[in-house]
Symmetry: C2
Subunit: 423 residues, 2 copies
């Protein structure tokens, strides 16, 4: 499970020079050090071999051997040395921006997104198809997603990239095996291994596929593409028609013990509240999901038109329309009640509001923060900052594409065993 | 932080026979293997050196060296060999039940408990002082606890035990440094490092002290003294005047990112519900804590008399008194709403109802389970079993005493560095 196994290589395993008789150990050592070198290049591009050796604590000879393997596998490129005035400059090394790339697909209630991210983390291509997927058969939605993906892969190949992994975000409960059990806001999406289906439809040799809840992938998108490196513990709130959350602890996705945790949208905020699509009553999603919020503000458009409704809601909030402000305040209080439960469990320092909640952040952050101060019992000693996502609706699809890239950087030998050589 | 660092040693680190030049590595190896041997003896007493070697994968020579160090430190004893008919039987080895012991103290709202547990996990001594601590100064309560502890330590010494560590449970928010920040149901308990204070008052040389929330220690008590080995993921609910929870994931305590998580009692179950002692409204504790539940059943005794109230409540429930049954059902629904939030976050397979909730389990388990089935969105795929604690009010104090014992077994060199010898 990639979301759980990402481990950053921070320190070298010191070789005693005596381990030649223990090939398994040596293989592990090489694997670790390959990750160490690639991780250093990901953090600081254009390092020379000597700088890499100094930064990692490995010998120059070892660095040279490892770099050679990484270049041969297409993960690292050697640039022309800069012309220095004094001495012979080392050739600068960097991640190969024209090499392996990750494809991300997000299937949501009212759109399908796709993007391609290269090894340096740059989004190279993207596409978004707006459509109401609620009453469409899963096969038809997956076909549409596969067509969009196939177009992007062809463009990526034309640009010299090699798409080698796929990440898929879906709006529902996904287990550790990548099977979607239930999508409360989509019809008939049950027991579908969406990434496997898409792998077959796209028909390209892929080294890895991964499927997860869209909120979990959005949390990883925030971690990798938006937040500072030291924001390693946070909950990302995905406010769309459905409301979800992705929890990151110590930089790693925390999916709960059996993989189906993080369900903020179905925390009860009012035991006698409105019916929810999940069958319960008074879930956050039923009270403050996009459709519920638009309806309570007198803007019940529904379906694919709801995005327009959000714009209208923002316009009315800006001019201070009273019914809109009351609806936003009530939604914020409900978000605060549900988030307080999460924080009473997890004691996290940061909340990132994403999806359409990010657009409404100016009206939500204040009352959400007030509610947390009252309802989180540890708030006086462990306060929590509430911030808005800066990724818009791109968090999840970027996280989905980033999965492949992070897997490669965190352990290149996992997807590219050729870097270990023949031993 | 012992609750987070406990790691069971399950496999040997294979020595290549070439590591004599790497003393740091060898020291680590010995430390690991000492834990491995002690852990095996904890799981299966009366093993011979040969059986230990077979079970751990270590050589007999290594096992003999390690056993020698563990015997010298007083952690392991060698018994007289059983007289076999054929061959020379090995001397059976076992944890030393007359050696190092752990002292546990639980300070709660209306009682102070203490107990001593020997290295085999047997409770050797215990004491409980019922008193309403709510209006008593912290110093006076700590003095009382220290007196009880000193008496037990003297008795333990008279029995040949050596109390070498202290665990303290308190009903409030305790950080990773063991400082109690706030105890909503006690007055003036703020910023108190209770274990350090008690260490000074008891005035014995202790190798370790640890302080934590009583619910966290109770969860460990359940894990070590009651539940089956394979129940490694669960939430323990501590129902007393305050309501708390201890979360165990993968056999380890999960305290949240900053240590102040697991606060089930302050999850909102009704946003407009009654005021809670924490300052919020509609917390589970305010709706279904012991005093709230007794009051709603028409049995508002309060204070130290509340225990009697619980017995009366049980008597009335047994005869089916309608007001009592309604109050219990309402409490169960509230417990279900709060627990559902925890399970929506954590996706745990087991809930253990403890404290006075355990006594009321026959009336709580059904409606709590029903509520979880509705309110946990993943319940159809990841169901959760609700069971009652069998430890009564002893879970927390046993966990507090067990902390020291588990630390020793999981890594004997941590508290007994003499087992590493002079290298």
């Amino acid at each position: 499970v990639p979301g759980r196994s990402f481990a950053l290589a921070r320190a070298p395993i010191a070789s005693t020079g005596r381990l030649q008789e223990a090939p398994a150990h040596q293989q592990l050592l090489k694997r670790h050090n390959l990750a160490l070198v690639l991780g250093h290049l990901a953090g600081a591009p254009n390092l020379s071999r000597a700088q890499l050796a100094a930064g990692t604590g490995l010998t120059k000879a070892t660095v040279s051997t490892l770099v050679c393997a990484l270049v041969a596998a297409g993960l690292v490129v050697e640039r022309d040395p800069a012309r220095g005035l004094i001495g012979r400059p080392g050739s600068p090394l960097a991640l190969n921006a024209e090499g392996p790339a990750g494809l991300g697909i997000e299937i949501n209630v009212d759109y399908v997104s796709a993007c391609v991210v290269d090894l340096t983390g740059t989004v190279r291509l993207r596409d978004k198809i707006v459509s109401d997927n609620r009453l469409v058969a899963p096969e038809a939605v997956l076909d549409r997603a596969a067509q969009a993906a196939t177009r992007l892969v062809a463009k990526a190949e034309a640009a010299g990239l090699s798409v080698c992994g796929l990440g898929v975000g879906v709006p529902g409960l996904v287990d550790f095996d990548g099977v979607l059990h239930r999508a409360p806001n989509l019809r008939d999406w049950e027991g579908i291994a969406a990434a496997e289906v898409l792998r077959d439809l796209i028909d390209r040799p892929l080294r890895s596929v991964y499927c997860d809840n869209e909120a979990n992938l959005a949390a990883l998108g925030e971690r990798w593409f938006a937040l500072s490196e030291d924001t390693a513990d946070f909950v990302f709130v995905s406010g769309e028609i459905g409301v979800g959350a992705g929890i990151v602890i110590g930089g790693q996705l925390f999916r709960g013990v059996r993989g189906l945790g993080g369900e903020l949208g179905h925390v009860t905020v009012d035991p006698n509240g409105p019916r929810c699509s999940c069958g319960s009553r008074g879930c956050l999603e039923a009270v403050a999901g996009r459709e519920a919020l638009l309806a309570s503000a007198g803007l019940a458009l529904g379906g694919a038109g709801a995005r327009g409704g959000t714009e209208e809601l923002v316009s009315r909030a800006i001019v201070g329309e009273p019914e809109t402000l009351v609806a936003l305040n009530n939604a914020a209080r409900a978000i605060g009640v549900a988030l307080a439960a999460f924080l009473n469990v997890l004691d996290l320092p940061t909340v990132v509001l994403g999806g359409f909640y990010a657009e409404l952040a100016p009206w939500l952050i204040g009352p959400v923060t007030d509610e947390l101060a009252v309802r989180v019992v540890n708030s006086s000693w462990s306060s929590t900052e509430v911030v808005a996502s800066s990724l818009g609706d791109q968090a999840s699809v970027k996280g989905a594409a980033g999965i492949t890239v992070r897997r490669i950087i965190d352990d290149p030998a996992e997807l590219f065993p050729e870097v270990l050589g023949k031993t």
